[in-house]
């Protein structure tokens, strides 16, 4: 319990740092791009501008400390301000609209890559590392360089190639977007949404697969050296039981931590992939905000991404205590 409390304190500290960095960044820029940008919003009345400055914590009548506290207050109330580019819409509503797309597509691809990667990594390690296993197992020999290669694919490049060859030339999938505008609901609407998600999800699964394979393989190889595996073999347990019930269960722990991180990052979307496929998730809007110098939108998205990742991390650490008895003993000391 004390361990969890300490982790919670670290979580709060990190959250505070993230919020403060978010506040400080635009103010550290040379010149005053935010003010310049504010002046260019078409048809904005002086009154609206003043209100906007207030919402963005830029009230010029306030000191920087005052600005900081009013910024904190707005955030605590869940108010992230309004977008410059899509002026009347609030940042919160824009995030709420794009979040389901990212969660669905990126979340599914992350889970798929993790499951596939773990399976492959476990098999490769078992073929090679088990006593009596083949040190030059063909599966392992090919899987390692293939996994490394997956990790070196520039995702945006693969995405561009797929859009051209599979969508444009072969016409198998839509060229972009997250759904056909004005598409019907129901079954055909669902099918339409799925069709738009196939290529982005495939790209993401492929580029992230290698990392999972390597992580699981190395973790499993380390576990296979442990005495309890030798003991299980000496006792005469069947290979399957040793591999799945003993070795893999121990080897999965680092994967578990990594998965929590990866699921935390899901909310951030995949900027490069979403951009190439014009898939309108969080990553897509983050880049739109960057391109249009839409600072409230950029800050809001970055804040959401950071907070989710921090909370996911904390939950992973808390769950870790439940899953791994060794950590529980360590933690209670």
């Amino acid at each position: 319990m004390r361990y969890l409390l300490r982790r919670f304190a670290v979580l709060l500290l990190t959250l505070w740092i993230a919020v403060t960095v978010n506040f400080a960044l635009p103010r550290l820029m040379p010149g005053d791009p935010v003010q310049t940008k504010l002046a260019t919003i078409p048809g904005i009345s002086p009154l609206a501008r003043q209100a906007l400055e207030k919402q963005f914590g830029l009230d010029t009548h306030q000191s920087i400390v005052g600005q900081y506290f009013s910024y904190l207050g707005h955030i605590l109330r869940g108010d992230l301000g309004r977008s410059f580019t899509y002026f009347p819409s609030s940042v919160t509503s824009m995030i709420r609209q794009s979040l389901p797309w990212t969660l669905g597509m990126v979340g599914f691809a992350t889970l798929l890559a993790c499951a596939l990667g773990c399976g492959l990594g476990m098999m490769a390690a078992w073929r090679r590392g088990a006593a009596g296993g083949n040190r030059n197992s063909r599966l392992d020999t090919f899987l390692v360089p293939l996994g490394v290669m997956c990790g070196a694919i520039p995702p945006f490049w693969l995405a561009t190639l797929l859009v051209y060859f599979v969508s444009f030339k072969l016409g198998w999938f839509p060229v972009g977007g997250s759904r056909t505008p004005g598409a019907a609901g129901g079954l055909s609407g669902t099918f339409d949404v799925l069709k738009h998600a196939v290529l982005p999800a495939f790209t993401l699964t492929l580029v992230s697969l290698g990392g999972w394979v390597m992580l699981m393989r190395n973790s499993m190889l380390t576990v296979l050296n442990d005495d309890f595996v030798k003991f299980a073999r000496a006792v005469g347990l069947p290979d399957r039981t040793i591999a799945y019930r003993y070795a893999a269960r121990n080897a999965i722990l680092p994967v578990f931590t990594q998965l929590a991180m990866a699921l935390g990052i899901v909310v951030g979307g995949q900027v490069f992939i979403e951009i190439v496929f014009s898939y309108q998730g969080i990553g897509y809007w983050l880049l739109q905000a960057v391109m249009n110098e839409d600072y409230p939108l950029m800050q809001g998205i970055f804040l959401i991404i950071t907070v989710t990742l921090l909370v996911a991390n904390f939950l992973a650490e808390a769950l870790y205590v439940l899953v791994d008895p060794r950590v529980r003993v360590e933690a209670s000391k």
């Binding site: 360089p145 990790g151 520039p154 945006f156 490049w157 051209y164 444009f168 190889l221 380390t222 990742l309």
Partner: protein
């Protein structure tokens, strides 16, 4: 670092050969390149011909020359950023882990904060603030931003290694004989964790190459330099695929893929050699 183990590791040999090839191309760029990469006086949008092996761009530049000079820029940015990340890790991880006490607590806290900040969005947001989105950024800022976002993970690994070495007798002996802190770190601690540091370097360089190309692709670098990333930026911008100029899009990406695979293989192989439980022998 075990030299014999390195020479008998096929992954290390393949990785090192590819790396050496790209470094050679980078060094010999002025000799190898048939034209100037910025010469725009060729016919626009040519397919592969005898004069232009990989064709020309929509802007009338020779793609092969761009690729060769781009190799020089991308490889040097990647490796230089890898080195910089290692230096930061040396201070934040190894040095902090060795000296312990307040410095260590402070540095470890900073590392933990950076560790949980999302790398890719941070990369994009920082670049946007520091150099705008107009594509007129500087390479120095690009390198700086990648360094800031890429060091934390390795620093944590190195710190735990340094802590494990801190109380070993030979380090104790050096401390008692009055050697300075940095001297002990550099001549006693680092040589004993060289394998992990080298593996880390290749991992960092891989991250840097992909991050550089990605940022340049979305226009957050300097679009007037010739690199693999900016080639892809222009290819995408001028709709190379629709014009049938597939070499323009295909080849720079393949270079990133092959060069990145080499770095990844070296990272893996060195890790394998340094970590006995993963070793093949």
């Amino acid at each position: 670092m075990n030299v014999r183990a390195t020479l008998s590791n096929p992954r290390a040999i393949i990785g090192a050969t590819i790396l050496a090839f790209f470094i050679l191309v980078a060094i010999l760029a002025p000799v190898l390149s048939p034209y100037s990469p910025t010469d725009i006086n060729f016919a626009v949008g040519l397919g592969p011909t005898w004069q232009h092996w990989l064709g020309t761009t929509e802007g009338g530049q020779d793609i092969l020359s761009q690729l060769i000079w781009g190799t020089r820029e991308s490889v040097s940015v990647g490796l230089l950023t890898g080195v910089l990340i290692c230096v930061v890790q040396l201070v934040m991880g190894v040095f902090a882990g060795y000296v312990s006490g307040f410095t260590d607590t402070a540095f470890a806290t900073v590392t933990n904060v950076f560790l949980v900040l999302p790398a890719l969005p941070l990369l994009i947001v920082l670049s946007a603030y520091l150099q705008g989105s107009g594509g007129s950024g500087s390479t120095a800022v690009l390198i700086g931003v990648i360094t800031i976002t890429g060091w934390a993970w390795g620093a944590r690994v190195l710190r735990s290694q340094a802590i494990a070495l801190r109380d070993r007798p030979f380090v104790e002996a050096a401390r008692v004989s009055g050697e300075g802190r940095w001297h002990i770190v550099l001549s006693h601690i680092v040589p004993n964790m060289l394998g992990i540091m080298v593996a880390n370097f290749f991992g960092a360089a891989l991250f840097a190459v992909l991050a550089e190309a990605g940022l340049e692709f979305i226009g957050l670098g300097n679009i007037n330099t010739v690199t693999w990333g900016t080639m892809l930026y222009w290819a995408q911008n001028d709709e190379a695929t629709l014009m049938g100029l597939w070499t323009w899009l295909l080849v720079p990406g393949l270079c990133i893929l092959v060069f990145g695979t080499a770095l990844g293989l070296l990272n893996f192989a060195v890790d394998e050699i340094a970590n006995p439980s993963l070793r093949r022998d």
